[in-house]
Symmetry: C2
DNA sequence: CTGTTAGCGCATTCAG
DNA sequence: CTGAATGCGCTAACAG
């Protein structure tokens, strides 16, 4: 029972010790181009030209023969081999923090849609917001010679991680890969950037316009740029209306539904206890958690406490009360990112596509007090 | 302007006409094994042995030299080339109907978790339940020489599509690939099979036990096996208690949130109009849509109409009223499927892992009438 | 242990 | 337009 776990030091992803995995594809039930060529009575080259989608220089008759042989044999090109020979593959990598989170799922769906339309294969990874896994996946995509890479999710304050990522991305782009980020413009790559500051500021003003005066903010994780930007924007918006947000009214926590639940619980023990306060969770997922907490605590929303979020995730349409939020075109953002990633880019410098958020005032912040 | 669209007949995915895409990786900023070997002053073979994770036959000193050279050069193995040489890749394909649907997202997350743990790359596709796209993706995975494939989602009644899929899967497994399905056992491959009939039957009995006597079923799409199984089970469960479910009380519709919304709307115009009826939507996503519809119509749940679903998707914890359902261990199902896919399988025939559902009675079916 | 030499399956020059 | 030959980057026998 010794040497239970054997770890390689080969960096990421750790090259696993090959065990009884068959070295070679079991039997040769795999049809190869040569087989097709033989059956069609043509040379390997012509078969390749016909089946490889080469700029047509095909010969009418032979062309058909090859096609027929291919279908008869159930031939399917070995994409790996093709990629090696061609030097490029049709893979697009996608990184999200959490695929179960509707925010990321929706953006990912948008990315995939245009990827498929461009007949690309999508490799997806869900990193749990772990910068190490993100880095590892980028390295993996470089190794896979993926043609493009879309990084979805907020950047962090971790300077070291960011530097490492930047370096890895550099190597990747230098090798010909295209990178697009959905989030903040700090990686030196094309970016689809939600206007978090402006959106939060608009929201704050709108809430004040509704009659709110007291606020508590569930700010998410300290190191996340989105979180910081939205808090800053919100604070600025309040300041515009002469309201000051004190640090003690900002409650950090994980960027998840449960994080929102817990943070709301903490808030209930403090400022929120006196009711008639508006709670702003910096993303909808947390806001939904907060709503659940308030419901469990028997607090009426918006009767006693108002709640607002950010993102307008699809889930919101089934939450009660309807949540006020700042809507982001998530699916479209994904599409745009993918399109950017597929477009050649050329020599023009990193483009930033700003995405404006739209304030949506719904029942959760209707002020009855 | 002629030949606007040129379609290849090469089967799926259509080999796209290469246009101005650079034939070869732009410059040679890509470090190759040969470069590393050269810099380390060793042969290609040794470099490969060190970096390729070969069964250690390395030489102490050279080993370090190679590692150093690799890191200095920022070397990253070309996985495509490796796959070609090895005859096997570390890719795992995953097919889901809709990645935004929490049911699929949760299962996919489970699959990915064990895939990553096994340091595999995951290629994901969201097919919108289109059998054609599913087939295309399987073909693609065969072309990619993916090592394993996980098909998540109900099978359909479309015999032709099923046959084609079976054929393609046959070619894939014959080439050495492993396939696992999460759904029904009709493909002749290993299957993680939720006990849909039993679960629905248990639910029906439980609901009758709660005092319900009148039922309407939102049955989803006609051709989907899950839908049919759950309806059948539900009907059987009612029959066990001497209650008959007439066909006119079964309302079909899309397997989505909006589908549930609309179907519920139809039901409201019919049987449901007289209230005091229990509505069973064959999956939670539809049930959530139905709840929204009832809410919009001013119907109290469960005060006037009761609602039950199936799956216990995570979203449910934030829905009001809490929805009665049949819980399936979605994440774990994904993990199991992936593990099955990675395990060698050997010669033993397709295994079926039955997954029992657990009835969860919550507020949405509490009978106050 | 280490280096030499063949391939892997395909694309693509270069002749014919 | 077609075929023969070379190479892509790497692994895996095979010899030293």
């Amino acid at each position: 029972m010794r040497t239970l776990a054997r770890v390689t030091d080969d960096g990421v992803p750790a090259a696993r010790q090959r065990q009884r995995r068959p070295r070679r594809r079991s039997d040769d039930a795999v049809v190869t181009l040569a087989d097709v060529a033989a059956r069609a009575g043509v040379s390997l080259a012509t078969a390749s030209r016909v089946l490889g989608g080469s700029t047509r220089v095909v010969g009418g008759a032979l062309r058909d023969a090859v096609h027929q042989a291919a279908t008869e044999l159930g031939y399917r090109a070995n994409l790996q081999a093709r990629a090696v020979a061609r030097g490029t593959s049709d893979t697009m990598g996608v990184v999200v923090h959490d695929i179960v989170d509707p925010y990321f799922a929706t953006i990912a769906a948008g990315v995939m849609e245009v990827a498929y339309a461009g007949s690309m294969v999508v490799s997806l990874t869900s990193t749990s917001a772990d910068t190490g896994r993100e880095l590892a996946f980028v390295a993996l995509m470089r190794a896979q010679h993926a043609r493009a890479l879309v990084l979805v999710g907020s950047r962090t304050d971790d300077a070291r991680a960011t530097d490492e990522l930047r370096a890895e991305l550099g190597a990747y782009t230098r090798a010909g890969g295209r990178v697009v980020c959905v989030g903040q413009d700090v990686l030196g790559v094309d970016t689809v950037r939600p206007q978090n500051v402006d959106g939060a500021r608009d929201l704050a003003r709108a809430l004040v316009g509704q009659g709110h005066r007291d606020f508590v903010v569930l700010s998410g994780p300290a190191g996340l740029h989105v979180a910081r930007d939205r808090v800053a924007g919100f604070r600025a918006g309040l300041a515009d209306r002469g309201i000051e947000l004190s640090d003690s009214d900002i409650i950090p926590g994980p960027f998840t539904r449960d994080g929102g639940y817990e943070a709301a619980g903490l808030a209930l023990g403090g400022r929120l206890a006196r009711r008639h306060v508006c709670l702003f969770a910096v993303n909808d997922v947390m806001a939904v958690g907060a709503l659940a907490c308030l419901r469990a605590a028997g607090v009426d929303v918006p009767g006693q406490i108002a709640v607002a979020g950010f993102d307008d995730i699809p889930t919101l349409q089934d939450i009660t009360p309807p949540l006020s939020t700042v809507a982001l075109p998530l699916h479209r953002m994904g599409e745009m990112a993918a399109r950017l990633a597929l477009r050649d880019g050329g020599e023009d410098h990193p483009r930033v596509v700003p995405i404006a958020g739209q304030v949506l005032l719904r029942q959760s912040t209707a002020v009855p007090w």
